[in-house]
Amino acid sequence: MLTALLRSLRTGVVTLRYPEEPARIPERFRGAPRPRPGAAFDALPPASVCPSGAISGGDGGSRYAIDLARCVRCGRCAEGPAAEAIELGRRVELAARSRPGLVVEVERGGDGRVVALPPPPPEAEVAERIRRTLGRSLHLRHLDSGSCNACDWELTALLNPVYDVRRLGVDFVASPRHADGVIVTGPVTRNLETAVRRTWEAVPEPRVVIAVGACASSGGIVGRSYASAGGVGEVLPVDVFVPGCPPRPEAIVYGILLAVGRVRATAPGARAG
């Protein structure tokens, strides 16, 4: 007991200070792909390069879009010669309130160069939103709707001493009846669809739904099939989408904090959905 205490004291504080301090991103991190503005439009890789079908357009047309919700961060679209046209982002703060908010779209400029549209939201506004919501508490029920367990383990990591999400007033609770919302991982399998609906119904209103990972956000690599609904949005009203395969723990923290802003914006007693 005493030695355990001494060891703990010697170890000191290991907890990261995200979001006050930015996430530490390793050099090889494969983040969200983005067409480089100014690059030759024709250098963009064909849609077939993406194993999860996140890329559309190109192929002679004048538009090109990458759906970050579908993207599994394999990085293949930015490999080889395509690296000139696509860069992999280093931000983890990608969560959005709507699916269109996760689509990066560019068009062919008059000179054959990539022109971005529309511009990404300004960083300052995002930071302000986080500050505004930091004081708010959110208790969530985890709902695995058929994940590969990578997203689940990243949710577990939020409770480890390094991320310790409880310091932000966020916790995971055992019963949906104790929860302010559900945090969902997986594409919603056929065998879980009923359980997913019932768990959500058991959460008192107003309730938030946070979809974590490519599968939950869009179906991801699983897609839509006899066994998969193709994303949580097909079954529940989603408030925040956190893309990634899986999203890093900080990306999930950011998504949760974004969701808290949504609850504040809703009139008391109003249905959050």
Partner: protein, 539 residues
Amino acid sequence: MADPTPILEDVRARLAGRGGLEPGPRPGDLTVRLRGPEELPAAAAELGAAGLSLATLAATDDEATSDRDVKVRWVFEPGGGAAPLPDVFVTLLVSLDPARPELPSLSPELPAASWHEREAQDLFGIVFRGHPDPRPLVVHDGWPRGLHPLRKRFDAGLRPPVEPAGEFPHLVVEGEGVFEVPVGPIHAGIIEPGHFRFSTVGESVLHLEPRLFYTHRGLEKRIEGLPVEDALFVAERMCGVCSVSHALGFCEASEQIAGIEVPRRARFLRTLALELERLYNHVGDIGNIAAGASYHYGTSAGQRMKEALQQLAEELAGNRFLRGLVVPGGVRVDLTAGLARAIEEAMAATAEALESLVERIENNPTVTDRLDATGLLPQRDAIALGVTGVAARASGVDRDARRDHPHAAYASERGLQVSVAIETDGDVHARMDVRAVEARESIRLVRVLLAGLPAGPILAAMPGLLPPWRAGLASIESPRGAAIHWLRSGADGRVDRYHLRSASYANWPAVPIAAQSAIVPDFPLVNKSFELCYSCTDR
């Protein structure tokens, strides 16, 4: 490595006259095309008598080919006898009428066959005559009869509506004071979904009936028709914490088909990734066992070790689950001197923290009291059910695919012969101890790999399309045990059929047996000591 010749000669002699013998799927393996389905039980019994045990079942729908049949392949591997076991697979192949695919069930004699047969019944519509428990396994309530997703004529876009479900059919235990406790599929913690029906008297578990396959995503259908370079990303996502193992199994099977020699440096780096995956799993699992015993210091210590190793994984592979590293033909990113130093430092830190945690647990009677004699899996049950990995080795079954089916750089290189950890108590404590010994061995292997890393290329050229109609077979020792990958290319060189029998799939049927020596509050502890994935079981 043991010579496979004696066992193959024995099998040839035993099966003479029952069908045609040919090599495959790998050059040193044996496939027996049985004269008819009725030969199957006797042939399987001969293989059992020759010391072989069941590895997997791979069915294919070849109705649209010139064969016009449905094929069922029972794949066996050496199971009994002294280690090391010879690296060989023996396949019993049966051709069935695609309109009425029917054959005798092996489950009455071979309990390990039960889930495989139920799965093939659901997904292919194959009838296994005499199966003792023919309830649906993979498809749940309200699934239309006569609709089998892995038949080629099944429309991949079809989505039959989800209908309300009644009580799932299960064994009902009756008697004074017997209660049923339903748990799941949505659980109280951050864990994967499964339903457990406990029949209890007081705290004692009389009977546990699990119902899984809630996370069935249809991935084996999803992967059909993809070129290998795309299919890899699906195989890698069968499971999160087995990402490296599953990617590697898929790659080795596809490389066999393509006839590609993977460069030596790539094989070392693949082995490195496998051991790093095992290590982050094992230290995290020891922490989770501590959590199951309410020892929170141990939980935090395990979580911190795991977190540090996952941060290391991201430095190395750009992903905290080491995704994107293993690709067909080799590996995608190389090791730098700086990364090698970071790995060495992480090994030193993990080794120190691991010994500290294990010592603290072992010297804490309030913890060990929970671990001892809890969740017993007897050796004979482990063998009968074909249990693998940590769960098997903790019950005295001396098997490890790193030694018995060498892959990546194991066995073939100096210092990479794996010392297999064996315990005999078969309880939670034994499974924790096996993990601790294996974690130390992983650290040793990582150091050997770093010290002996050969120079050279990391990627061999892989064709975009595979040679048509060839099969590959690989057994990879994942953190949970041997995962068996069966892959076949189609006429167009794309994936025609891919089947994964994960370690968790083999081990789940053992959990209800272990639960019988536990009280209900200890079930989470028993479950954590097996630490089975639902996702790579359900696929």
